[in-house]
Structure formats: C-alpha cells, structure tokens
C-alpha cells in the first residue's frame, strides 16, 4: 500500500491520537514519580490530556466529514459521541480523587486505563468498519474489566470484575460471530460496501439474519438491554463508584453510537427485519428496568436498574431510525452524562472512602444537614425522571417526538408511562432527603474535586434544560 495513504485524512483520528500519545506520556511520568506519592500530579495530567483531546475534537468539528482508510469517519455524530465520552472521562478522574487508597497508590495505572477506555469508546462512535468496531469495543471493555476490580481489598469489587469479565467476554464472542456472518453476507467489513451488496440483492442472504441476531446479543449486553442486563446491577454495585459513574455513561454512549451506525449505515435495507425485535426489546428493557428499580434499597443498584431503563428509552431512537431520532439520542446521551454522573457523585460523597453500599436511609434528613448537596441530588433525580424544565426532560421529549414522527406513537406512549413509574423511585430519594429526619450522624466525604464536579453537573443539568437549543448545533445525528 502507498504510505502516503496512511497520512491522508489522518486528522479524522486526531483526538484519539492525542489521547494515545497522552497515555504513553502519563505512563512514563508515572514511572518517573514512582518514589513520591504523587497521585495529584497524575490526576491533573490525566485531566489535561482529556481536555486536550476535547480541544482536538472541537478543532476538527468545523471540517467537512472525512473518512480515514475506510475505517473511521469524522462527522457530527462522531463528534457528539466524543464529547459525551470525554465529559464522562473528565468527571471519572475528578470523582476518583480522595476516594480509594488503591487508586492513590496506583494512580498511573488507574488513569491510563481510564483514558484507554475513553479512546476505545471514542473509536466506537467513529468506526465505519466491522473490524474497527470490534477492536474499539474490546479496547474499552478490557480496560473496564480491570477498572471495575480496582478496589482490590474489597471482595465485592473483585467479584464485580470477575462477573463483568466472564459475561463480557462471552457476549463479545457473540458480537464477533455476528460481525463475521455479516462479513460473509456482504463480502466486506466496510459498512458502506455491505449496504451496497445487500441492497442490490447480492451476497449470502441466508447469513444476514443470524448475523444481525448475534450482533444484537453482543450490543444488548454492552448497553444492558433486558434480557442481557443481569450483570449490570452487580457490576455497578461492586465496582468503585467513580468507575461506575464513568462506565454507566461512557459504555452507553459508545455502544449506542456503534449500534446506531451499524444498523443505519450497513443494514438500512433490512429495517423491516430488525425494527420489530428491537421495539420489543425497548419495551421490555424500559418496563423491567423500572419495575425492578422500584424495589431496590441500595442506591447504587437503584441507579443501575434506572440505567437499564434509560437504555430502553434510547433504544426507541434506534427503532425510529430517522436522522431526527439519532440527534435526539445524541442529546439524550449528553444530558444523561451530566445527570447520571452527578447522581453517582452524590453517592460517592455519602459513601466515604469506598466503604461499601449506600442504602436509601442514608439520604434521610440530608436536606437539613447538607442543603446544597440535597438540592443537587434533587436536581439529578428530577432530571433523571424527566421532569421539565431539566435536561432529562428534553432528552426524553426529543426521542418521543422522533418516535411519533416515525409512526411509532405506541412506543412513545409506553415510554411516557415508564417515565411515570420511574418518577416514583426517583422522588422517593427526594422525599427522604427533605421530609425525613436523620437517624444518626451523616458523614460527608467532600473534597474540592468532588464539590467542583457536583457544582458543574448541577449547573449543566439546569442550563441544558433551560436552553436546549444551544446544543443542537454541537450534537448532531447521523
């Protein structure tokens, strides 16, 4: 191959390249600082690298979409996914400050893995080739398996890593088998060429449907759709909470981005075949997620089931499969990043230094002891349940609107009913904070990094809700 081709349009991957170089620098600095206990410096460096990556994403934003070696593309949708993932990464670093002794001891490893996961997630959004998609998926999955077991003294954390790894690797094999069969069906790993072959009636037609079904299992696991969601509560509960916060947003954004692009670029000619099963999965996911969240006493598990339900809502956008629906999904993920990370941030504050679970009783009387913390949590809960005028409301509104426009009004109705169910368990936390008395002393593990993240996420949730139009230019669909 001509080597000049390697550099043509290489700017498409500029943010990923910046982060990859940054990770290497970070690991070198870590080796240099081994003697001193310098986790603060490493955290600052990690944030600087992620901010540089965001700068690089914005730098290539104005340019016309270009493709790199038929494997990655830089369009508006890829940029939206990058932004969401980078935001999740930055807050992941901030929230992990002063949280775990093992993170402080091995800050270099922790932050490098976190940035590597960010790279993989960003690649998911840009991939236009099944091989790139598979590698991106594995890059972030492998990093997350280790991160979720990072609290090595805690058997729950190790158990979460073990479950996540075994089930994740199992699901990956389904994913790659599906990709292999799609390659067999279309004769190429490039989405565009698969589409050309299939829409012209060529290829191995008998391999298409098994391929889609297997791919669906793999994706369903990653975004935790019912019935592939069983790992979610265990891993979210057992993993260190900053990792959970990062993972819940980042994985969702990345996997949905990859999912949307495969279905809408490579397989639009088979819409009739895949839309109906996905619609059923969306209904199941929303309903089971919300109903199970109702009876959780641990806040982390409740948020885990709530994230399952949110995955169902975003899936509606894929069933609608219109450009408006994909930009609605991008907006939803953007809003979800702030409100979900914020909610986990409050859990981190109450949890102390990785001491375990936060039961809902811990929130009793928070409103009188720590009013600002309680107000922030109330904002996140109201936004997650979709109450106007907060960010979560507009995310849901845009997705339901896109569904109605695509003649899927029944799906939108089920989505709205589910929002009503979810309001019950979100508001229960709010009620506990403001209308119950505290039983004992509430310990509060505050630090400048956590306070800053909570302030930023709270303001962002309110501002995005009040000014949803501001972001329309930044967050685009396919």
């Amino acid at each position: 191959m001509d080597t000049a081709l390697l550099f043509e349009n290489a700017t498409v991957l500029l943010p990923e390249i910046v982060l990859a170089v940054g990770v290497m620098v970070l690991m070198m600095v870590d080796i240099g600082l081994r003697k001193q206990n310098e986790s603060g410096t490493l955290a600052a460096l990690a944030i600087a690298i992620l901010v540089l990556g965001m700068g690089a994403s914005l730098l290539i934003w104005g340019r016309p979409p270009a493709e790199y070696l038929g494997g990655a593309v830089s369009d508006g949708f890829a940029l939206s996914v990058r932004l969401v993932v980078l935001i999740a990464g930055i807050f992941g670093v901030l929230l992990s400050r002063n949280f775990l002794p093992s993170i402080e001891r091995q800050g270099g490893a922790f932050y490098s893995l976190l940035i590597l996961a960010v790279i993989g997630m960003m690649l998911m959004g840009t991939a236009t080739n099944l091989i790139v998609l598979f590698i991106a998926l594995e890059i972030f999955s492998l990093a997350l398996y280790i991160l979720s077991g990072f609290h090595r003294e805690n058997p729950r954390s190790i158990e979460a890593a073990m479950k996540y790894f075994l089930l994740g690797a199992f699901a990956s094999t389904f994913f790659v088998y599906g990709a292999a069969l799609l390659y067999g069906a279309g004769g190429s790993t490039s989405y565009v060429q698969i589409h050309e072959t299939l829409s012209s009636g060529g290829g191995n037609r008998s391999l298409v449907l098994p391929g889609i079904a297997l791919l669906l299992v793999g994706f369903g696991f990653k975004v935790s759709l019912v019935p592939f969601h069983m790992w979610t509560p265990d891993v979210y509960q057992g993993a260190p909470t900053p990792v959970t916060a990062f993972m819940s947003v980042g994985t969702k954004a990345a996997a949905f981005a990859g999912f949307l692009r495969v279905m809408m670029v490579a397989l639009p000619s088979l819409y009739e075949q895949w839309a109906a099963p996905l619609a059923i999965l969306a209904v199941l996911t929303m309903t089971v997620g919300n109903l199970t969240a109702l009876r959780q006493s641990s806040v982390k598990r409740m948020l885990a089931y709530s994230s399952v339900a949110h995955a169902g809502t975003i899936l509606i956008a894929l069933v609608a499969a219109t450009p408006a629906a994909t930009s609605a999904a991008a907006f939803y993920l953007f809003a979800y990043a702030f409100m979900n990370i914020g909610a986990f941030g409050v859990v981190i504050v109450l949890e102390g230094r990785g001491e375990g679970d936060v039961e809902q009783d811990r929130f009793n009387g928070l409103g009188t002891r720590y009013p600002s913390l309680a107000v922030a949590m109330a904002v996140f809960m109201l936004s997650l349940s979709g109450i106007p005028p907060l960010a979560g409301f507009f995310g849901k509104f845009l997705i339901f609107k896109a569904a109605v426009e695509a003649d899927l009004a029944w799906l939108a109705v089920i989505g709205v009913l589910n929002s009503a169910i979810s309001a019950y368990y979100y508001l229960r936390v709010v009620a506990a904070m403001f209308f119950r008395e505290a039983e004992g002393e509430i310990t509060c593990n505050c630090g400048p990094a956590i306070n800053f993240s909570l302030a930023v996420t709270t303001i962002a949730v309110v501002v995005i809700g009040l000014q949803p139009g501001l972001w329309a230019d930044l967050l685009r669909g396919l």
Binding site: I158, F165, L166, V176, Y177, G184, P233, T292
Partner: protein
C-alpha cells in the same frame, strides 16, 4: 474443494459446544477455555468466508480476533488470580456476594 457451508456448519457446532460449556460448567478456568473455543470457531468462520469471497478482509479480521483473545487472556487470568486470593476457589457458584 469442499463447499463453504461445511466449514460454516462445523464452526457453528464448535461455537455451540463452547456456549454450552460456558453455561453448564462451574469452573471459571474451564468457562474461560470455552470462550476461547467460541472465538476460534469465529476464526474458522471468517477464514472460510474469506476464501469464498476471495478477499483478505476476513483474514485480517482473524488476526485482530487472535490479538484481542491474547489480551483477554492476560486480563482474565489476572482477575481470576485476584479472585482466588479472596475466595480460595474458582468455582463460580461461590461468587455470590452481589445479588438482588
């Protein structure tokens, strides 16, 4: 030259054997081996299809799958060892601290 479908059927059988093993066995290491077997059946599928289409993309895909499988082994064994330190066992029935 045998037809591609023979290879595809053989690969599907191996994949099924692997998946059954993952679901039925209780030893984490054996489960892990079953997952590797499933990945290799995918490799066989890819190679057969690459021959049928006469292009190299499937073969490149196989190399990527193998590289990823190797990385997965490194991460997976590390997690298994960390778990053995706590549990003194790799039986997945004993991994039950977290449940609903």
């Amino acid at each position: 030259m045998p037809e591609t479908s023979y290879y595809l059927i053989l690969a599907a059988l191996i994949f099924t054997v692997g998946a059954t093993g993952v679901l039925l066995r209780r030893n984490a290491l054996i489960i892990f081996m079953c997952i590797e077997m499933m990945l290799n059946s995918v490799n066989l599928t890819l190679i057969a299809l690459a021959r049928q289409w006469g292009n190299l993309e499937g073969q490149i895909f196989v190399f990527m799958v193998m590289a990823v499988a190797a990385a997965e082994v490194a991460v997976g064994l590390a997690i298994l060892i960390a778990n053995v330190r706590h549990q003194k066992s790799i039986n997945i029935d004993e991994i039950n601290l977290l449940k609903w």
